[in-house]
Amino acid sequence: MRKRTFQVVIIFIFLLIILLPPLQQITGMLPEPSLIEKRQLMPVPEMEWDSFVSGVFQRQFDAYMDDNYGFRNLMVMINNQINIGIFHVTR
């Protein structure tokens, strides 16, 4: 494979990796395994001027993203498998 072609392939894969989760989050195009979490996942925060200026909205939005990004359940399961199967740890 030529150097330029190789670089294009790597750039494409990189974009795919950071683009697919938000696409999945927005469209829910693929089915995801379900996780049983004993807590309420963060809902979409409401944006208000006061909460934006104080930074509360930003923190809530970060928490929402952490809980709801695309393929999160799949990644959590793979991460647990790696931790338990390879390192024999839970975290």
């Binding site: 494979m1 150097k3 330029r4 190789f6 670089q7 294009v8 790597i10 750039i11 894969i13 990189f14 974009l15 990796i17 950071i18 683009l19 989760p21 938000p22 989050q25 934006f52 200026v53 104080s54 930074g55 930003q58 939005f61 970060d62 993203m65 952490d66 990004y69 695309g70 999160r72 990644m75 959590v76 793979i78 991460n79 647990n80 790696i82 931790n83 390192f87 024999h88 740890v89 975290r91």
Partner: protein, 474 residues
């Protein structure tokens, strides 16, 4: 917003890169304006209340830079800018500390303490101030011409990859690229691979071994044993390096993806064979600033020996103070200043005879002891901790170690050590390293491995809570 946060990776970065590269390359002003808006959004996300500080201080230095050239009063304009910038830094970063110390003294002598409402520290203030000072000094010295376009200057100050934790990019280092820069496929490829490796350093290595460092430093030093104390500081030594070097790699990588060459910040600091060598390899952008804007104006080493030692000492006390308003940071600076002056007094005929690997080990241990001051909450705790590190009666007390570090922790600690010392482990032959670096297999595997690191980092992020970068504190 941390580069390793989900919001950044799966929101901010992907939207930014797509829109930036969708703007045609010939409209560089439009690209710059877009980066400027995004940089302010990036800052607003972390510290909305301090945007007026960022904007107004940028306006002030924009005009002061122009006035340096337009008026005959160069020195006056420089002085105003320095007073303004250092005044802001002093007020926001050191007033709480100063008032606290004065209050403690007043209480000691039976007076009432001072009434003071604590001030919040603006995000990235130390880095923002150093960037603006570098611009003003570059213009004052005639190294750079003042930037007439306000938006271009504002972009230099706010450029988001280096905005809140560096590398400190001096104005003359990217002034040309602010106006015109090349966007190549190779540049984007180099940038994204660098970003992936930086993310891996932070998420996989620093955060994993940081868990052990945190567990051990949370214990009272009275409960520690010699092996536990060494494990704790060893983990912190690698954590702080991989955390900050990882952040710098990500900053350099994002910059490269949009055509900027942000300067390097680390060059294998733990293979240094002297403290002087360490500071040429650790936080290089800060060392360069302190050398050019403080050490050399003080007279550098062109003055008497005693004065040179004094200059070194001053530079490192201020270096410690720059990291934070706390006696532990000041002491860390003093410690390095003392080591550097001590090193200079040693005759070369003695140091020249010591084998390289012994100098490396000695330097590493001295640096490691310094990190105890950096990590501890108080100087008393730091001395207590160091005392345990040399409490040889507890040499074989290793029973707590399995509770403090996991298999995963050991794995990444070993990886961290290998990556930190690899020139010594892979052989020091420049020929072998060049052959490996130039081989096509290595070049291809470098790219493929970057993608593997990215995938594993993203998977790891899913299982971890949010871990802020250590250097966001400064």
């Amino acid at each position: 917003m941390a580069f390793s946060s989900i919001t950044f990776l799966f929101g901010f970065l992907v939207v930014f890169l797509i829109i930036y590269h969708a703007i045609p390359q010939r409209f560089i002003q439009a690209r710059n304006l877009f980066v400027l808006i995004v940089s302010y959004l990036f800052y607003i996300w972390g510290a909305p209340g301090f945007v007026p500080f960022l904007f107004l201080s940028t306006v002030a230095d924009y005009f002061l830079g122009l006035l340096i050239v337009k008026t005959g009063k160069k020195k006056l304009m420089l002085a105003i800018s320095l007073i303004l910038n250092l005044g802001l830094l002093g007020y926001f970063k050191y007033m709480n500390f100063l008032v606290g110390e004065i209050s403690a003294l007043l209480l000691l002598f039976g007076f009432d303490s001072l009434f003071w409402i604590k001030i919040a520290l603006p995000l990235g203030i130390s880095f923002i101030i150093f960037h603006k000072i570098s611009y003003i000094i570059d213009v004052y010295r005639g190294v750079s011409t003042p930037q007439r376009n306000f938006f271009t200057f504002a972009l230099y100050v706010a450029l988001f990859p280096k905005l809140i934790a560096g590398p400190i990019t001096r104005y003359h280092e990217i002034s040309d690229e602010l106006i015109s820069r090349e966007h190549t496929l190779g540049g984007i490829y180099d940038g994204l691979t660098r970003f992936c490796y930086g993310l891996g350093k932070k998420v996989l290595i620093a955060d994993t071994i940081g868990l052990t460092a945190d567990r051990i430093f949370q214990l009272s030093y009275g409960d520690l044993t010699l092996p536990v104390a060494w494990l704790g500081i060893l983990c912190y030594t690698f954590q702080i390096y991989f955390d900050f070097a990882g952040y710098s790699d990500m900053a350099i990588g994002i910059g490269r993806m949009i055509g900027f060459h942000i300067p390097e910040n680390f060059n294998l600091p733990y293979i240094a064979t002297s403290i002087r060598d360490f500071w040429r390899r650790w936080h290089i952008s800060l060392t360069n600033c302190l050398r050019d804007y403080l050490y050399i104006p003080l007279g550098g080493n062109r003055v008497s020996k005693v004065r040179t030692y004094f200059n070194l000492w001053i530079v490192f006390v201020l270096c410690g103070l720059w990291h934070g308003a706390s006696w532990t940071f000041i002491f860390w600076g003093v410690y390095h200043g003392v080591l550097l002056t001590g090193e200079r007094t040693l005759p070369e005929r003695i140091t020249g005879k010591i084998p390289g690997f012994l100098l490396l080990i000695g330097t590493f241990i001295l640096v490691l002891i310094g990190w105890v001051f950096f990590r501890s909450d108080t100087i008393l705790n730091a001395f207590g901790y160091i005392g345990v590190m040399f409490k040889f009666g507890t040499f074989f007390s290793t029973r707590d170690i399995p509770f403090l570090i996991t298999n995963k922790g050991w794995f990444f600690l070993i990886i961290a050590a290998i990556l930190s010392f690899h020139p010594y482990l892979t052989g020091r032959s420049r020929y072998i390293r060049q052959v490996v670096a130039n081989s096509m297999v290595f070049k291809y595997s470098y790219g493929v491995f970057a993608i593997i690191i990215l995938i594993y980092s993203v998977i790891t992020l899913s299982g971890s809570t949010y871990n802020p970068f250590i250097y966001f504190r400064f």
